[in-house]
Symmetry: C2
Subunit: 174 residues, 2 copies
DNA sequence: GCTAGTTGTTGTGGGCCCTCACAATGAGGG
DNA sequence: CCCTCATTGTGAGGGCCCACAACAACTAGC
Protein backbone atom coordinates (compact mmCIF):
# COMPACT_ATOMS: atom_id res chain seq x y z
CA UNK A 1 0.00 0.00 0.00
CA UNK A 2 1.86 2.97 -1.23
CA UNK A 3 1.05 6.48 -0.20
CA UNK A 4 -0.08 7.32 -3.68
CA UNK A 5 -2.56 4.47 -3.79
CA UNK A 6 -4.07 5.51 -0.53
CA UNK A 7 -4.57 8.99 -1.81
CA UNK A 8 -6.13 7.81 -5.01
CA UNK A 9 -8.54 5.48 -3.28
CA UNK A 10 -9.59 8.08 -0.80
CA UNK A 11 -12.06 9.82 -3.03
CA UNK A 12 -13.69 6.58 -4.10
CA UNK A 13 -14.03 5.44 -0.55
CA UNK A 14 -15.44 8.83 0.33
CA UNK A 15 -18.04 8.73 -2.39
CA UNK A 16 -19.02 5.20 -1.51
CA UNK A 17 -19.41 6.16 2.13
CA UNK A 18 -21.44 9.19 1.17
CA UNK A 19 -23.87 7.13 -0.85
CA UNK A 20 -24.37 4.40 1.70
CA UNK A 21 -24.57 6.80 4.62
CA UNK A 22 -27.19 8.95 2.96
CA UNK A 23 -29.10 5.87 1.92
CA UNK A 24 -29.29 4.87 5.55
CA UNK A 25 -30.32 8.35 6.63
CA UNK A 26 -33.07 8.34 4.07
CA UNK A 27 -34.21 4.94 5.26
CA UNK A 28 -34.48 6.04 8.87
CA UNK A 29 -36.29 9.23 7.93
CA UNK A 30 -38.74 7.40 5.69
CA UNK A 31 -39.32 4.87 8.40
CA UNK A 32 -40.27 7.53 10.93
CA UNK A 33 -42.36 9.57 8.52
CA UNK A 34 -44.23 6.51 7.38
CA UNK A 35 -46.13 6.44 10.66
CA UNK A 36 -47.73 9.72 9.67
CA UNK A 37 -48.51 8.68 6.13
CA UNK A 38 -45.61 10.61 4.66
CA UNK A 39 -42.12 10.12 3.28
CA UNK A 40 -39.14 12.39 2.74
CA UNK A 41 -40.35 13.41 -0.70
CA UNK A 42 -43.96 13.84 0.36
CA UNK A 43 -43.05 15.85 3.44
CA UNK A 44 -40.88 18.15 1.36
CA UNK A 45 -43.79 18.86 -0.96
CA UNK A 46 -46.13 19.45 1.94
CA UNK A 47 -43.66 21.76 3.63
CA UNK A 48 -43.48 23.93 0.54
CA UNK A 49 -47.25 24.29 0.50
CA UNK A 50 -47.73 25.56 4.04
CA UNK A 51 -47.48 29.17 2.97
CA UNK A 52 -49.91 29.09 0.10
CA UNK A 53 -50.86 27.45 -3.20
CA UNK A 54 -48.02 26.54 -5.54
CA UNK A 55 -47.94 25.38 -9.13
CA UNK A 56 -46.41 22.02 -9.82
CA UNK A 57 -43.68 23.36 -12.03
CA UNK A 58 -42.44 25.49 -9.14
CA UNK A 59 -42.31 22.43 -6.90
CA UNK A 60 -40.38 20.54 -9.52
CA UNK A 61 -37.72 23.19 -9.96
CA UNK A 62 -37.49 23.92 -6.24
CA UNK A 63 -36.74 20.33 -5.35
CA UNK A 64 -34.94 19.49 -8.56
CA UNK A 65 -37.16 16.66 -9.62
CA UNK A 66 -38.85 16.07 -12.95
CA UNK A 67 -42.34 17.51 -13.39
CA UNK A 68 -43.63 14.00 -13.80
CA UNK A 69 -42.42 13.14 -10.32
CA UNK A 70 -44.40 16.03 -8.85
CA UNK A 71 -47.52 14.83 -10.60
CA UNK A 72 -47.03 11.45 -9.00
CA UNK A 73 -46.38 12.81 -5.52
CA UNK A 74 -49.31 15.22 -5.66
CA UNK A 75 -51.52 12.38 -6.90
CA UNK A 76 -50.65 10.42 -3.80
CA UNK A 77 -51.04 13.36 -1.44
CA UNK A 78 -54.38 14.19 -3.01
CA UNK A 79 -55.54 10.61 -2.68
CA UNK A 80 -54.70 10.74 1.02
CA UNK A 81 -56.49 14.05 1.45
CA UNK A 82 -53.39 16.10 2.27
CA UNK A 83 -53.63 18.45 -0.71
CA UNK A 84 -56.14 19.66 -3.27
CA UNK A 85 -55.71 20.72 -6.86
CA UNK A 86 -57.50 23.85 -7.97
CA UNK A 87 -57.57 25.47 -11.36
CA UNK A 88 -56.03 28.91 -11.70
CA UNK A 89 -58.52 31.37 -13.25
CA UNK A 90 -55.64 33.51 -14.49
CA UNK A 91 -53.92 30.71 -16.39
CA UNK A 92 -56.03 27.69 -17.11
CA UNK A 93 -53.03 25.56 -17.97
CA UNK A 94 -52.05 25.75 -14.33
CA UNK A 95 -53.34 23.62 -11.52
CA UNK A 96 -52.51 25.15 -8.16
CA UNK A 97 -51.71 22.74 -5.38
CA UNK A 98 -53.20 23.70 -1.99
CA UNK A 99 -52.61 22.07 1.36
CA UNK A 100 -55.64 20.90 3.33
CA UNK A 101 -56.05 21.11 7.11
CA UNK A 102 -55.31 17.41 7.31
CA UNK A 103 -52.15 18.00 5.27
CA UNK A 104 -51.14 20.78 7.60
CA UNK A 105 -51.55 18.52 10.59
CA UNK A 106 -49.57 15.75 8.93
CA UNK A 107 -46.82 18.21 8.11
CA UNK A 108 -46.61 19.33 11.71
CA UNK A 109 -46.46 15.78 12.98
CA UNK A 110 -43.75 15.05 10.44
CA UNK A 111 -41.72 18.05 11.57
CA UNK A 112 -41.94 16.86 15.15
CA UNK A 113 -40.92 13.35 14.16
CA UNK A 114 -38.01 14.72 12.19
CA UNK A 115 -36.92 16.91 15.07
CA UNK A 116 -36.75 13.81 17.24
CA UNK A 117 -34.49 12.01 14.83
CA UNK A 118 -32.18 14.36 12.98
CA UNK A 119 -30.36 15.96 15.93
CA UNK A 120 -29.57 12.45 17.11
CA UNK A 121 -27.85 11.66 13.84
CA UNK A 122 -25.38 14.50 14.19
CA UNK A 123 -24.98 14.23 17.94
CA UNK A 124 -21.37 13.10 17.72
CA UNK A 125 -20.30 16.09 15.63
CA UNK A 126 -19.07 19.24 17.28
CA UNK A 127 -20.28 22.65 16.25
CA UNK A 128 -17.09 23.11 14.23
CA UNK A 129 -17.57 19.75 12.58
CA UNK A 130 -21.03 20.66 11.42
CA UNK A 131 -19.87 23.95 10.01
CA UNK A 132 -17.03 22.18 8.22
CA UNK A 133 -19.38 19.54 6.90
CA UNK A 134 -21.73 22.14 5.53
CA UNK A 135 -18.88 24.00 3.90
CA UNK A 136 -17.57 20.84 2.28
CA UNK A 137 -20.97 19.82 1.03
CA UNK A 138 -21.38 23.18 -0.62
CA UNK A 139 -17.96 22.87 -2.22
CA UNK A 140 -18.64 19.39 -3.52
CA UNK A 141 -22.07 20.35 -4.68
CA UNK A 142 -20.73 23.25 -6.65
CA UNK A 143 -18.43 20.93 -8.54
CA UNK A 144 -21.08 18.31 -9.08
CA UNK A 145 -23.61 20.81 -10.35
CA UNK A 146 -21.17 21.93 -13.02
CA UNK A 147 -20.70 18.37 -14.19
CA UNK A 148 -24.24 17.40 -14.89
CA UNK A 149 -25.93 17.68 -18.24
CA UNK A 150 -28.92 18.83 -16.19
CA UNK A 151 -31.76 17.54 -18.28
CA UNK A 152 -34.34 16.80 -15.60
CA UNK A 153 -37.57 16.27 -17.38
CA UNK A 154 -38.81 17.99 -20.49
CA UNK A 155 -35.88 20.28 -21.11
CA UNK A 156 -34.62 22.93 -18.71
CA UNK A 157 -37.88 24.75 -18.42
CA UNK A 158 -37.09 26.44 -15.18
CA UNK A 159 -34.23 28.17 -13.45
CA UNK A 160 -32.75 25.86 -10.86
CA UNK A 161 -32.90 27.22 -7.36
CA UNK A 162 -29.39 27.01 -5.84
CA UNK A 163 -28.72 24.69 -2.98
CA UNK A 164 -28.15 27.61 -0.63
CA UNK A 165 -31.86 28.37 -0.71
CA UNK A 166 -33.77 27.43 2.42
CA UNK A 167 -35.68 24.36 1.37
CA UNK A 168 -36.93 23.79 4.88
CA UNK A 169 -39.26 26.72 5.11
CA UNK A 170 -40.56 26.10 1.61
CA UNK A 171 -39.48 29.32 -0.03
CA UNK A 172 -41.04 28.63 -3.37
CA UNK A 173 -42.21 31.14 -5.93
CA UNK A 174 -45.88 30.97 -6.70
CA UNK B 1 -31.81 35.46 13.76
CA UNK B 2 -30.91 34.45 17.24
CA UNK B 3 -27.96 32.29 18.01
CA UNK B 4 -30.21 29.56 19.30
CA UNK B 5 -32.26 29.43 16.16
CA UNK B 6 -29.21 29.14 14.00
CA UNK B 7 -27.97 26.24 16.06
CA UNK B 8 -31.28 24.46 15.91
CA UNK B 9 -31.67 24.85 12.18
CA UNK B 10 -28.15 23.76 11.51
CA UNK B 11 -28.79 20.03 11.68
CA UNK B 12 -31.85 20.21 9.50
CA UNK B 13 -30.07 22.29 6.94
CA UNK B 14 -27.20 19.85 7.08
CA UNK B 15 -29.39 16.85 6.50
CA UNK B 16 -31.22 18.58 3.67
CA UNK B 17 -27.93 19.48 2.02
CA UNK B 18 -26.69 15.96 2.46
CA UNK B 19 -29.71 14.48 0.74
CA UNK B 20 -29.74 16.87 -2.18
CA UNK B 21 -25.99 16.77 -2.66
CA UNK B 22 -25.88 13.01 -2.74
CA UNK B 23 -28.86 12.91 -5.05
CA UNK B 24 -26.91 15.06 -7.46
CA UNK B 25 -23.80 12.93 -7.11
CA UNK B 26 -25.84 9.84 -7.85
CA UNK B 27 -27.36 11.53 -10.86
CA UNK B 28 -23.99 12.46 -12.34
CA UNK B 29 -22.60 8.99 -11.70
CA UNK B 30 -25.61 7.28 -13.23
CA UNK B 31 -25.41 9.59 -16.19
CA UNK B 32 -21.81 8.64 -16.90
CA UNK B 33 -22.29 4.95 -16.27
CA UNK B 34 -25.33 4.83 -18.51
CA UNK B 35 -23.09 5.13 -21.57
CA UNK B 36 -21.67 1.74 -20.68
CA UNK B 37 -25.02 0.12 -19.97
CA UNK B 38 -24.59 0.33 -16.23
CA UNK B 39 -25.71 2.33 -13.22
CA UNK B 40 -24.38 2.83 -9.72
CA UNK B 41 -26.26 -0.18 -8.40
CA UNK B 42 -25.40 -2.39 -11.36
CA UNK B 43 -21.74 -1.43 -11.30
CA UNK B 44 -21.55 -2.23 -7.60
CA UNK B 45 -22.94 -5.68 -8.23
CA UNK B 46 -20.57 -6.26 -11.11
CA UNK B 47 -17.61 -5.09 -9.04
CA UNK B 48 -18.38 -7.63 -6.37
CA UNK B 49 -18.36 -10.42 -8.92
CA UNK B 50 -14.96 -9.82 -10.45
CA UNK B 51 -13.25 -12.19 -8.05
CA UNK B 52 -15.58 -15.12 -8.45
CA UNK B 53 -19.15 -16.39 -8.23
CA UNK B 54 -21.29 -15.03 -5.42
CA UNK B 55 -24.68 -15.99 -4.11
CA UNK B 56 -27.39 -13.39 -4.23
CA UNK B 57 -27.94 -13.30 -0.49
CA UNK B 58 -24.30 -12.32 -0.04
CA UNK B 59 -24.72 -9.46 -2.48
CA UNK B 60 -27.82 -8.30 -0.67
CA UNK B 61 -26.19 -8.18 2.74
CA UNK B 62 -22.95 -6.72 1.40
CA UNK B 63 -24.68 -3.76 -0.17
CA UNK B 64 -27.50 -3.56 2.35
CA UNK B 65 -30.31 -3.96 -0.07
CA UNK B 66 -33.25 -6.33 0.07
CA UNK B 67 -32.78 -9.73 -1.58
CA UNK B 68 -35.55 -8.82 -3.96
CA UNK B 69 -33.53 -5.89 -5.21
CA UNK B 70 -30.62 -8.20 -6.03
CA UNK B 71 -32.92 -10.47 -8.02
CA UNK B 72 -34.01 -7.49 -10.04
CA UNK B 73 -30.52 -6.20 -10.67
CA UNK B 74 -29.17 -9.62 -11.59
CA UNK B 75 -32.14 -10.12 -13.92
CA UNK B 76 -31.17 -6.99 -15.76
CA UNK B 77 -27.48 -7.80 -15.84
CA UNK B 78 -28.25 -11.28 -17.10
CA UNK B 79 -30.52 -9.91 -19.78
CA UNK B 80 -27.68 -7.67 -20.96
CA UNK B 81 -25.22 -10.55 -20.92
CA UNK B 82 -23.05 -9.21 -18.13
CA UNK B 83 -23.63 -12.08 -15.71
CA UNK B 84 -24.82 -15.67 -15.69
CA UNK B 85 -26.69 -17.65 -13.08
CA UNK B 86 -25.50 -21.13 -12.32
CA UNK B 87 -26.89 -23.64 -9.89
CA UNK B 88 -24.73 -24.68 -6.98
CA UNK B 89 -24.33 -28.47 -6.83
CA UNK B 90 -23.60 -28.27 -3.11
CA UNK B 91 -26.79 -26.37 -2.25
CA UNK B 92 -29.48 -26.51 -4.84
CA UNK B 93 -31.40 -23.63 -3.31
CA UNK B 94 -28.55 -21.39 -4.33
CA UNK B 95 -28.02 -19.77 -7.68
CA UNK B 96 -24.47 -18.53 -8.04
CA UNK B 97 -23.99 -15.33 -9.97
CA UNK B 98 -20.97 -15.31 -12.29
CA UNK B 99 -19.59 -12.44 -14.29
CA UNK B 100 -19.13 -12.93 -18.04
CA UNK B 101 -16.25 -11.57 -20.14
CA UNK B 102 -18.61 -8.88 -21.42
CA UNK B 103 -19.48 -8.02 -17.84
CA UNK B 104 -15.84 -7.79 -16.95
CA UNK B 105 -15.22 -5.40 -19.81
CA UNK B 106 -18.20 -3.27 -18.84
CA UNK B 107 -16.97 -3.16 -15.27
CA UNK B 108 -13.57 -1.95 -16.39
CA UNK B 109 -15.05 0.73 -18.57
CA UNK B 110 -17.24 1.79 -15.67
CA UNK B 111 -14.24 2.04 -13.36
CA UNK B 112 -12.47 4.24 -15.86
CA UNK B 113 -15.52 6.45 -16.28
CA UNK B 114 -15.85 6.73 -12.53
CA UNK B 115 -12.20 7.60 -12.14
CA UNK B 116 -12.72 10.47 -14.54
CA UNK B 117 -15.57 11.90 -12.54
CA UNK B 118 -15.17 11.28 -8.84
CA UNK B 119 -11.83 13.02 -8.24
CA UNK B 120 -13.31 16.08 -9.88
CA UNK B 121 -16.13 16.15 -7.36
CA UNK B 122 -13.81 16.40 -4.41
CA UNK B 123 -11.24 18.58 -6.11
CA UNK B 124 -11.94 21.58 -3.90
CA UNK B 125 -11.37 19.65 -0.67
CA UNK B 126 -7.96 19.51 0.89
CA UNK B 127 -6.45 16.29 2.11
CA UNK B 128 -7.41 17.25 5.65
CA UNK B 129 -10.95 18.03 4.56
CA UNK B 130 -11.36 14.62 3.03
CA UNK B 131 -10.08 12.90 6.13
CA UNK B 132 -12.42 14.99 8.27
CA UNK B 133 -15.33 14.24 5.98
CA UNK B 134 -14.68 10.54 6.16
CA UNK B 135 -14.44 10.67 9.94
CA UNK B 136 -17.70 12.57 10.21
CA UNK B 137 -19.50 10.23 7.88
CA UNK B 138 -18.44 7.29 9.99
CA UNK B 139 -19.63 9.05 13.13
CA UNK B 140 -22.98 9.95 11.64
CA UNK B 141 -23.37 6.53 10.16
CA UNK B 142 -22.75 4.89 13.51
CA UNK B 143 -25.59 6.88 15.03
CA UNK B 144 -27.91 6.29 12.13
CA UNK B 145 -27.29 2.56 12.11
CA UNK B 146 -28.32 2.35 15.76
CA UNK B 147 -31.57 4.13 15.01
CA UNK B 148 -32.97 1.93 12.31
CA UNK B 149 -35.34 -0.95 12.90
CA UNK B 150 -33.15 -2.74 10.35
CA UNK B 151 -35.72 -4.89 8.63
CA UNK B 152 -34.36 -5.03 5.10
CA UNK B 153 -36.16 -7.83 3.45
CA UNK B 154 -36.77 -11.24 4.88
CA UNK B 155 -35.74 -10.67 8.47
CA UNK B 156 -32.21 -10.13 9.66
CA UNK B 157 -30.96 -13.48 8.55
CA UNK B 158 -27.56 -12.24 7.68
CA UNK B 159 -24.92 -10.31 9.53
CA UNK B 160 -24.61 -6.84 8.10
CA UNK B 161 -21.16 -6.06 6.84
CA UNK B 162 -19.99 -2.85 8.53
CA UNK B 163 -19.50 0.25 6.50
CA UNK B 164 -15.76 0.13 7.06
CA UNK B 165 -15.51 -2.85 4.76
CA UNK B 166 -13.99 -2.14 1.35
CA UNK B 167 -16.98 -2.19 -0.95
CA UNK B 168 -14.90 -1.09 -3.86
CA UNK B 169 -12.89 -4.24 -4.36
CA UNK B 170 -15.94 -6.40 -3.79
CA UNK B 171 -14.82 -8.25 -0.70
CA UNK B 172 -17.82 -10.49 -0.43
CA UNK B 173 -18.00 -13.90 1.15
CA UNK B 174 -18.96 -16.66 -1.23
C1' DG C 1 -38.06 -42.07 7.66
C1' DC C 2 -40.57 -37.90 8.69
C1' DT C 3 -41.87 -33.59 10.47
C1' DA C 4 -40.49 -28.81 11.78
C1' DG C 5 -37.71 -24.95 11.28
C1' DT C 6 -34.35 -22.34 8.53
C1' DT C 7 -32.44 -20.42 4.40
C1' DG C 8 -32.34 -18.82 -0.70
C1' DT C 9 -34.81 -17.03 -4.28
C1' DT C 10 -38.66 -15.12 -6.71
C1' DG C 11 -43.79 -13.16 -7.61
C1' DT C 12 -46.73 -9.34 -6.46
C1' DG C 13 -47.54 -4.84 -5.40
C1' DG C 14 -46.02 -0.39 -4.11
C1' DG C 15 -43.06 4.21 -3.73
C1' DC C 16 -39.86 7.43 -5.80
C1' DC C 17 -37.39 9.02 -9.67
C1' DC C 18 -36.26 9.43 -14.61
C1' DT C 19 -36.98 10.24 -19.98
C1' DC C 20 -39.87 10.63 -23.99
C1' DA C 21 -44.00 12.00 -26.16
C1' DC C 22 -48.28 14.54 -26.26
C1' DA C 23 -52.72 17.26 -25.28
C1' DA C 24 -54.25 21.59 -23.69
C1' DT C 25 -53.77 26.28 -22.89
C1' DG C 26 -51.87 30.98 -23.43
C1' DA C 27 -49.06 34.59 -26.02
C1' DG C 28 -47.34 36.80 -30.06
C1' DG C 29 -46.70 37.71 -35.23
C1' DG C 30 -48.55 37.42 -39.83
C1' DC D 1 -58.40 35.58 -37.32
C1' DC D 2 -54.98 31.94 -37.69
C1' DC D 3 -50.75 29.89 -37.04
C1' DT D 4 -46.74 29.13 -34.70
C1' DC D 5 -44.17 28.93 -30.16
C1' DA D 6 -43.56 28.32 -25.34
C1' DT D 7 -45.38 26.49 -21.07
C1' DT D 8 -47.96 23.23 -17.95
C1' DG D 9 -49.26 19.05 -16.76
C1' DT D 10 -49.89 14.11 -17.80
C1' DG D 11 -49.58 9.02 -19.90
C1' DA D 12 -46.43 5.37 -20.92
C1' DG D 13 -42.53 2.93 -19.81
C1' DG D 14 -38.30 1.99 -17.28
C1' DG D 15 -34.85 1.68 -13.13
C1' DC D 16 -33.97 1.14 -8.23
C1' DC D 17 -35.70 0.14 -3.77
C1' DC D 18 -38.86 -1.92 -0.31
C1' DA D 19 -42.25 -5.34 2.36
C1' DC D 20 -44.96 -9.43 2.23
C1' DA D 21 -45.89 -13.96 0.78
C1' DA D 22 -44.99 -18.19 -1.68
C1' DC D 23 -42.10 -21.89 -2.94
C1' DA D 24 -38.02 -25.03 -3.07
C1' DA D 25 -34.33 -27.06 -0.72
C1' DC D 26 -31.41 -27.92 3.13
C1' DT D 27 -30.95 -29.26 8.28
C1' DA D 28 -32.10 -30.92 12.82
C1' DG D 29 -34.83 -33.57 15.94
C1' DC D 30 -37.95 -37.33 16.66
Amino acid sequence: MLEVEVKRMNEFELSEHLLTCVTRIRRVLDERLKEHGLSVARKRMLGALTEGPVRQAALASAFEVAPRTVTELVDGLERDGFVERRGDPQDRRVRLVCITPAGRRANERAMIARAEVIPQMFADLSEEDRAALLRMLVAVDKRVASMSAAGLGAGDRSAVIPLDAPFIAGDVQR
